[in-house]
C-alpha cells in the first residue's frame, strides 16, 4: 500500500454533545476514487472539513503521504497538495472565470513581495489556469464574470479552481449537485482521467454516478462509517441496505 496519499485514522469531531464524526478511518490512494455516501447529516461534509483542515479534529490523526498533518492549518495543507471543492459553490463571483482559476494557481507560488510585478503576466499561473479551464470545458467562458455562470458551470469552475492548484488529493463535496446529465457525464469523464495522477475523495448523492466511478465506497451513518468496500460488496451489504439504500436494495438503480 505504498500509494496511500491521504489517510485518516479514528478521526472524531464533537460539537458540544453532538458527535458529528465518530472514529472514522479511511485511506485515499492514487488511482482510486473513494466515495463517501450517507444520508444528510451523516457527517460527510464535516469529514471533508477535517481532512482539508478547515475544522480541527477532536481526536484522531490525518496523514498526507506519510507525514502527520493533523496540526497543520488549512492553507498549509492546501499548498502540500490537498485540493477541495465545496458543497455550496464557493468562488469569486465578481472576478472573471479565468482570474478565479489564476488566483487558485497563484497559491502555489504566491510572490508575496513581488509588488512591482503584474499578476496578469505571471506565465505559470496563467498556464495552469488555462489548462484547468480546458480540462473542465470552461475555456469558452474564461472572460465572463464567474458570478454570471449558470449553476452547473459554477460547479465545474469549482473543480477547475481545485485543479489549477495542482493538488495530489482532491476532496470533492457533492460536485454533481444540480448538474444536468450531460454535465454529469462530462465531470465523471474528467474524474476518470484525473484518477491516474490523483487520489480522489468523492462525497455524492447521485448513486448512479457513485457506483459508476468509485473503486471504494464508505457508508456513513450518524457520524460513523458502518461499511467500506468495493461497490458490489456495498450493494450486497445488508446493513447498508437497511440504513441507506432502502430495504429493497434497488435504490441504486
Amino acid at each position: 500500500m505504498s500509494d496511500v496519499l491521504l489517510a485518516a485514522s479514528a478521526v472524531t469531531r464533537r460539537f458540544g454533545g453532538l458527535t458529528a464524526v465518530n472514529g472514522v478511518s479511511l485511506e485515499l490512494q492514487r488511482g482510486q476514487v473513494h466515495a463517501v455516501i450517507g444520508t444528510n447529516g451523516a457527517g460527510k461534509s464535516t469529514l471533508i472539513n477535517i481532512l482539508s483542515g478547515e475544522l480541527a479534529a477532536s481526536s484522531g490523526q490525518v496523514t498526507l503521504a506519510g507525514r502527520d498533518i493533523t496540526a497543520w492549518p488549512q492553507p498549509e495543507r492546501a499548498r502540500a497538495g490537498l485540493g477541495r471543492s465545496y458543497q455550496r459553490s464557493t468562488i469569486f463571483p465578481e472576478l472573471s472565470v479565468f482570474e478565479n482559476c489564476r488566483l487558485a494557481a497563484q497559491a502555489s507560488r504566491q510572490r508575496f513581495w513581488h509588488w512591482w510585478r503584474d499578476a496578469a503576466n505571471c506565465r505559470r499561473s496563467a498556464d495552469l489556469a488555462a489548462e484547468a479551464l480546458d480540462r473542465t470545458g470552461l475555456a469558452a467562458d474564461a472572460r465572463q464574470p464567474a458570478g454570471l455562470l449558470a449553476h452547473g458551470r459554477k460547479r465545474q469552475l469549482e473543480i477547475a479552481m481545485c485543479l489549477a492548484g495542482e493538488p495530489q488529493v482532491l476532496l470533492l463535496d457533492e460536485p454533481l449537485a444540480g448538474m444536468g446529465p450531460e454535465e454529469t457525464d462530462r465531470i465523471l469523464d474528467l474524474l476518470q482521467t484525473l484518477k491516474a495522477g490523483h487520489a480522489i475523495l468523492l462525497v455524492e448523492h447521485d448513486m448512479d454516478a457513485v457506483f459508476r466511478i468509485a473503486e471504494i465506497i464508505t457508508v456513513m451513518v450518524n457520524g460513523s462509517a458502518i461499511a467500506s468496500g468495493a461497490p458490489p460488496q456495498i450493494r450486497a451489504n445488508p446493513e447498508v441496505r437497511t440504513a441507506y439504500l432502502g430495504e429493497d436494495g434497488q435504490g441504486a438503480h
Binding site: Y86, I91, F92, A107, S108, F112, W116, D118, C122, M161
Partner: protein
Amino acid sequence: MRTPLLNRLLPFAALLALAAFSFSGSDYYTGLVVKIMIYAIFALSLQLLVGGAGLVSLGHAAFFGIGAYVAALLSPESEAAGLWWLLPAALLAAAAYALVTGALALRTRGVYFIMVTLAFSQMAYYVFHDTKIGGGSDGIYLYFRPELSLGGWMPFDLSNGTTFYFFVLACLALAWGFLALLRRSPFGAALAGIRINEQRMRAAGYSTYPYKLAAYVIGATLAGLAGFLFALKDGFVTPELLAWEQSGLVLLMVILGGMGSLGGAVLGTVTMVLLQELFQSQELFGDYARHWHLPLGLAIIALVALLPNGLAGLPAQWRERRHARTADASRKAARDVITPARAQGTAPASRLPIQGERHV
C-alpha cells in the same frame, strides 16, 4: 479585464491639473488644494484596506495623527529638523502602531474589526488628549518645516509655499502610483481574493492573515505620510487629528468616491472637502453657515443613496441604465416573437455584489 485607456489616463490628467493649479496665485485656493491632496493620500491609504482587502477600519485616523505628532514632537523648537530622518521616523511610528494593533485587530472580522480598530485609535487619541506628551488637548506647534540638506546643498526648501505644494503633489503621485502597482501585483490579486471570499483563498492555499496584516501596515504607513504632511502644512497638531470623527470622515470619502478603484478615493476626497467648504461659506449661506453640518449630512445621505457604487461607479451605473432601457425597448418591439427564455438571454447582466458579501 483591461481598463479602458481613458480610465488609465485620468489619474495623470488629475495630477497635471493639480500641478497647473499651483499657478492660480491665490493663497486660499492653493491652501485648499494642498489640504485636498493630503486628504487624498489619507483616503488612498484607507482604500487599500477597504476597497483592496475588504477591511473596513474605523480607526485609520490614529496613524494619520501619529504621523503628525511625530513630526511635531521630534522637530526642535529653534531650527529645522532633517527631512531625511524626520519623515522615516513618522512613517515608522505609524507602521509600528499598526503592526501591534493590527496583529490583534485582524483576529476579528466584520463589525468586530470595526469596533476593535475604533478602540485602538481612541486609545491613541486619549494618550495625546489626556497626557502632557503632546501638549494635551491644546496640541503643539511645529515652528519650522524640516529641510533636506545633502552636505550643505538643499535640493528644495519646503518653507517656500510653492515648493511645499509640489512636494505634497509628488507624495500624492508616488502614493497613488505605488498603490496602483500594488493592486495589479500578485499581492494585490490575493487581497482582492481575500476581500471577495476569504474561505476560498484559504482552501486554495493562502495564509490570509499575513496578507491582511501587511496591507494594514502599508495602509497605516501611507496614512502616517498624510499626517506628516498635514502637520507641516498647518504648523500645529491637535488630538482631534486622531479622533474617531476623522476616521469616519476618511471612510466616508472612500465610500462616497467608490470602493472599486483608487481614483474613487481621490474623487471622494475632492467632493467631501469641497462640500465642506461650500456649506461653511458665509458669503453663500450667511449666518446659516454655522450649521454647515446639517446640509453636509443631507448631501452625503443623498449621494450615498443615489450612487450605490460611489462617484467613480457613476459611468458604469449610467451605462447599465442605458443598456436596460435599450434592452427594454427591443423587447417591447419584439414582444410577440420572443419566448421568455430568449428574453432572459438578452436582459442586462445583473449587478455584481461588489460591495456586499464581504466577510464569510
